[in-house]
């Protein structure tokens, strides 16, 4: 009897916790979630986006280390494959922390920010992105020591894919 009581209380507590958790989850996804999403992707010019993300920190040319793979001409701007490969040892002392992909001409220029751990083994990311119109696409790499490196490539878009 005692044991059963105990089980019931535990269950009730767990259920309560579950509801709380779900509520908290909803909250995170709802209000602050949108705030966080806006914090990364906003309707702004690329200059504002760069200023917001990196402040005034100097960004060096990373052509020697970063390989940015993009089509020269994207026939359909709605789906453009992009991949970034960075030459990095990926050890706990020296690794690539973030890879940013920024499309200059998009209304929301920041496309994605990838956070990597040394366990990734290689500093690589690939994704399908949208491009509103022809323009530069840049990959910005933040290394574990805070160094910023950038490469950019121009892509010609035949049919834009960013409606809004």
């Amino acid at each position: 009897m005692m044991a059963e009581d105990h089980v019931v209380t535990r269950r009730t507590v767990l259920r309560m916790l579950g509801t709380l958790g779900a509520a908290a989850g909803g909250l995170v996804a709802g209000v602050p979630g949108t705030v966080r999403a806006q914090a990364l992707g906003q309707n702004e010019s690329v200059q504002d986006a760069m200023k917001r993300l990196f402040g005034g920190k100097p960004i060096k040319d990373g052509a020697a280390l970063i390989k940015l793979d993009l089509p020269l001409i994207a026939e359909n701007g709605a789906v453009v494959p992009v991949s970034v490969n960075v030459d990095s040892p990926m050890t706990p002392t020296s690794y690539v922390k973030h890879i940013y992909v920024v499309a200059d001409k998009n209304r929301i220029p920041v496309v994605t920010r990838v956070t990597l751990a040394p366990e990734a083994g290689r500093a690589f990311m690939g994704a399908n992105i949208r491009l509103g119109e022809s323009g530069d696409v840049r990959a910005i790499v933040e290394q574990s020591d805070g160094t910023l490196l950038q490469v950019k490539r121009e892509v010609k878009v035949t049919v834009g894919g960013c409606g809004g």
Partner: protein, 110 residues
């Protein structure tokens, strides 16, 4: 769209211990774009798109993608991880409406 949230993961067929493995992942998701009214003003509402992708291997986070609406519909992401031990690789996709979709794959050595 009943297919929303369908996740597909693809890993190479043969993996050796210590290999850096490239994984391709795909999720079926509309990734709604910002809509504008006739005056060109943005219609404010909570657009449903994926804003976070989390990759965990053996319980450790290997990579996270913070994404915006500039990512294509039915987004495809690829990434690498270093296969040290057999175990589970999990990819979770979170969207702005609280949706949570995940795919897992068992990493085995052959």
């Amino acid at each position: 769209m009943s297919d929303i949230g369908k996740v597909r993961l693809r890993v190479p067929t043969s993996i050796k211990p210590g290999d850096v493995v490239q994984v391709r992942s795909l999720v079926i998701h509309p990734m709604e774009r910002i809509e504008r009214d006739a005056q060109g003003k943005i219609i404010q509402r909570n657009y449903n798109y994926i804003n976070k992708v989390i990759v965990t291997y053996l319980g450790k986070t290997v990579a996270t993608f913070d994404t915006t609406q500039s990512v294509a519909e039915n987004p495809f992401f690829s990434f690498t991880f270093k296969a040290t031990d057999p175990g589970q690789l999990k990819v979770q996709f979170l969207d702005t409406t609280g949706g949570r979709y995940e795919g897992t794959v068992e990493i085995k050595f052959s």
